[in-house]
């Protein structure tokens, strides 16, 4: 028993705090990267393919641009894209799931089938197809990535709406003559936020991975520096110039770790809060 409390305490403090700290660092870099970068990320500042040194901490790429500056610059793009895609996914998921769960009947059947269809189709393939056809611009990527991640939100929302529509306050509103759309917007949605927000962290992590995979395949906004794209570009010097791939990859790994640890902490705090209030 004591060992379990010790281990849990350890996990909560050390891992949770690491997650918060790491994420804060990434946010800080994302906001202030223009000031923080040692060199301009697009300028040719050194000899091409020079290994990490005191002058270039992460080396230079095949054109002689500073890898560290490029990694830092890529942080904002990655975060903006991932958060944007998650918002798109939240909006679609909440509406599809909310309407399905609250309406019931044939609407629910149709929408549930639609959710199942989107769960089955391999996401990376779908995202590649859509961005290859529609063009890989930041806005389109956001919509496309968000447009394939929503089924999980829809499922969570549908489950919430199914239980909420039987609750007394919803019935009271119905009896009082409030319209269905208003009930959905004013009573069902606000009361279902918990599990969906708890899951948003995982969605951000998933969006980061999808974007990285896409840009590794060459489907990224050409005007932006993307980590996946950097890894692909670095393959020209592989395996000799390993730093061109190692560091952007590590950036992805650490950002994902931060997001996961953070969202785990938030979920745990949420569940602690729930058990206390009951």
């Amino acid at each position: 028993m004591t060992s379990s409390t010790v281990v849990n305490g350890l996990r909560k403090n050390v891992f949770g705090n690491t997650g918060v700290l790491l994420f804060a660092v990434f946010i800080f870099i994302a906001i202030f990267s223009d000031v923080l970068v040692p060199y301009s990320p697009e300028r040719l500042v050194g000899i091409p393919d020079s290994p990490p040194s005191a002058q270039f901490l992460m080396g230079t790429d095949n054109l002689g641009r500073d890898v560290l500056s490029r990694v830092m610059d890529g942080t904002r793009y990655t975060l903006v894209l991932a958060i944007g895609a998650t918002l798109v996914s939240l909006i679609i998921g909440v509406f599809v799931g909310g309407i399905a769960g609250y309406s019931g009947g044939w609407i629910d059947t149709v929408l549930s089938r639609l959710i199942e269809i989107f769960v089955t189709i391999p996401r990376l393939f779908l995202v590649i197809l859509l961005s290859a056809f529609l063009g890989a611009h930041t806005w389109i990527l956001m919509l496309v990535i968000g447009g394939t991640m929503w089924p999980i939100n829809a499922r969570l929302m549908r489950a919430q709406a199914l239980t909420l529509r039987k609750r007394a306050f919803v019935n009271a509103a119905e009896v009082a003559g409030v319209g269905k759309p208003a009930i959905l917007m004013r009573h069902i949605l606000p009361n279902s936020a918990g599990p969906i927000i708890a899951n948003a962290g995982l969605q951000i992590a998933y969006a980061i991975l999808l974007e990285a995979g896409l840009s590794f395949l060459g489907l990224s906004d050409p005007t932006q520096i993307s980590w996946g794209r950097m890894i692909q570009d670095g393959r020209a010097g592989f395996p000799y110039a390993w730093w061109q791939q190692l560091f952007p990859g590590l950036a992805i790994v650490f950002l994902l770790l931060a997001v996961h640890l953070l969202s785990e902490t938030i979920t745990r705090m949420h569940s602690v809060h729930d058990t206390q209030s009951e």
Partner: protein, 319 residues
């Protein structure tokens, strides 16, 4: 059972229709000339004219859709001008390599994940469990293409143990040597895909075993005085393993996606590296064909695992 099969089919068929409809709408609403969207940007003028007629591009929406579906049903997925081959032939020639990789990675990842998950749950709560959880989390955070590159760097470049890519040595060995050679080339891509699949199964097994350890029937088994080993393996693990079967169906799509990126890294001559080339060359008919065939493959595999699940667990099909 028949009712169950019918119901599963009722889910698969709309999915297939949706895939077809999505493809069609992309070509129909694509900016620019629709014939080029179907034929590809580097098609010859004669082929573009042929496409215009074959797909009835001057007709209204519903007639076009019908023509599109007829062509698809005949196995006509268009012509790839980068490879100078019909898209379907091209994909089918690459599919075996991908399916081999997917099945190897999926089965090994699932087996390894389930075994480690059960092991971790047995030692819950302890530092062993925390450590294994952390490893699983880190693996979950690794982009698979980067993991592949790091593996090549370590095992092929520094240690020189395994080939860095490809599927065969040249010249291709004869007879049994060919199988050995294939296995040798498969090691790294398979391990990469396995490590990608591992965390899902690890987490699921660990959590369901821990949950099962608190079930009444486990408490009863212990109260009867059965040994801890018997309780764990016969009562707890057996019941906790069932959810893994449904997850196999759900993860097939993600394993296919992982295989796409893995193949690109290891120059594995499957559908994934074909997709990469197609995107690079902007060969849209090929991109669309790969999407269609891969999605159909996944739908098929999901259907098969669903049916198997119904077969193994009677509760599912009577639900």
């Amino acid at each position: 059972m028949y009712l169950y099969i019918t119901r599963r089919l009722a889910v698969a068929i709309p999915t297939i229709l949706f895939i077809v409809l999505l493809n069609f709408c992309l070509t129909f609403f694509a900016p620019g000339d629709q014939a080029f969207a179907i034929a590809g940007e580097n098609a010859t003028p004669e082929y573009v004219e042929y496409v215009r007629k074959e797909y009835k591009l001057d007709a209204p929406f519903h007639e076009q859709l019908l023509a599109y579906m007829t062509n698809l049903a005949k196995g006509n997925l268009g012509f790839s001008f980068t490879y100078r081959q019909p898209v379907l032939d091209l994909i089918l020639s690459r599919m075996p390599a991908t399916v081999l990789l997917v099945i190897a990675g999926l089965l090994l990842g699932a087996a390894f994940g389930i075994a480690t998950g059960a092991f971790s749950a047995r030692f819950y709560p302890s530092r062993v469990d925390v450590g294994l959880n952390l490893i699983s989390l880190v693996l979950f955070c690794l982009p698979i293409f980067w993991l592949g590159l790091v593996m090549v760097l370590i095992f092929s470049v520094f240690l020189n143990w395994t080939p860095a890519g490809g599927m065969h040595s040249l010249p291709i060995p004869e007879g049994f040597g060919r199988v050995l050679d294939l296995g040798y080339h498969m090691i790294l891509p398979t391990i990469t895909l396995m490590l990608h699949t591992f965390p899902t199964y690890f987490k699921l097994t660990r959590n369901s075993v821990i949950e099962a350890l608190n079930e009444d029937y486990v408490v009863t088994a212990r109260a009867i005085g059965l040994g801890e080993k018997v309780v764990f393996f016969r009562h707890c693990l057996r019941n906790a393993l069932l959810p893994n079967l449904t997850v196999i169906g759900l993860t097939i799509g993600s394993v296919f996606s992982g295989a796409l990126l893995t193949e690109t890294v290891f120059s594995w001559p499957g559908v994934g590296s074909l997709m990469y080339d197609a995107v690079l060359q902007r060969d849209l008919p090929l991109v669309m064909g790969i999407f269609t065939i891969s999605a159909l493959c996944v739908v098929f595999f999901v259907l098969v695992t669903d049916l198997l699940y119904g077969f193994v667990d009677p509760r599912i099909r009577h639900d």
